[in-house]
Amino acid sequence: MMDNNDLDQMMESFLADEHVDNGEAFVANVLTTLPPVYKWWWVQDIVQAFGIFVALLIVWKLKFLTPGAFLLLMSVVGEKLQAHNHLFSHNNLMTFGVLGAAIVIYYTYRAVVES
């Protein structure tokens, strides 16, 4: 029968026996996945978001998208890009959000005035 001491010894031996390498490759790999050091990263973020917004706006204006589909696509693109670690930060989402809200307000306003 195995007693607690036997189990303790087996466990300690099992857990202590996990040899990992010195981690040089691991460390290098982690460092390469960090976001670049960039002082004006928020400007880049907003410009990037604005670029995507304008691209989508053009697609919309070419009648490929309805306003609803445009907003939906904007939110999906924003979310997907943010999921890609550092390609897209919260600033981009904020920019998207503000631009999206502006569109909604504009069209609501126009609908009210025209009615």
């Binding site: 607690n4 466990m11 099992f14 857990l15 026996d17 460390v27 960090l34």
Partner: protein
């Protein structure tokens, strides 16, 4: 937290100092990678992926570290969350990978038995045993990492050990 860690954390938060982060990485990569190896049944590639995800979260959220505990304890709590996220993504995580089975076999039959039985424990039992036996983590620290009371850690450790012992005995009887 050691004064060295405090300085490194301050440098990373204030100046985004990559060399300071590299020093932290070098210091803590081994225990975290070893922890994931145990939790993932020895799958080196998967455990390194999870360890990498952990350190990226450490980097992103370092400013929220309040210094109330050891830095390593805080990193372990992030590692625990990463592990649970991984389980949610994968849903099933009970089979010992074949390649790893071979890897353990080359070490010893006894270790292979423990590895198989460990994977039959629930993730929380595996987590608590790995933490309890992991180097340098006291039961108080385990309770901080798992965010459960110290008494609960002691009870669950005993329960997990009992279950593991039962599994090992059943396994060795079947093997005879």
């Amino acid at each position: 937290m050691s004064s060295n860690d405090t300085e490194l954390v301050a440098l990373i938060i204030a100046q985004d100092d990559r060399e300071a982060f590299e020093s932290l990485l070098k210091k803590y990569q081994a225990p975290i990678r070893a922890f994931f190896r145990k939790m993932c049944g020895g799958d080196g590639e998967l455990s390194d992926d999870l360890a990498q995800e952990t350190f990226l979260k450490v980097y992103r959220h370092l400013s929220t570290f309040q210094g109330n505990s050891q830095l390593l304890t805080w990193i372990y709590s992030i590692a625990r969350n990463v592990f649970y996220e991984h389980l949610r993504r994968e849903e099933k995580f009970t089979e010992l990978p074949e390649s790893e089975e071979m890897s353990y076999t080359t070490r010893s039959e006894e270790k292979l038995d423990i590895a198989k039985c460990m994977l039959q424990l629930t993730p929380e039992e595996r987590l608590i045993l790995t933490m309890a036996y992991a180097q340098g983590l006291s039961q108080t620290e385990v309770s901080e990492v798992l965010e459960i009371p110290l008494g609960t850690v002691k009870t669950r450790t005993l329960q997990a050990k009992e279950k593991l012992r039962g599994l090992l005995q059943a396994y060795s009887e079947r093997s005879l």
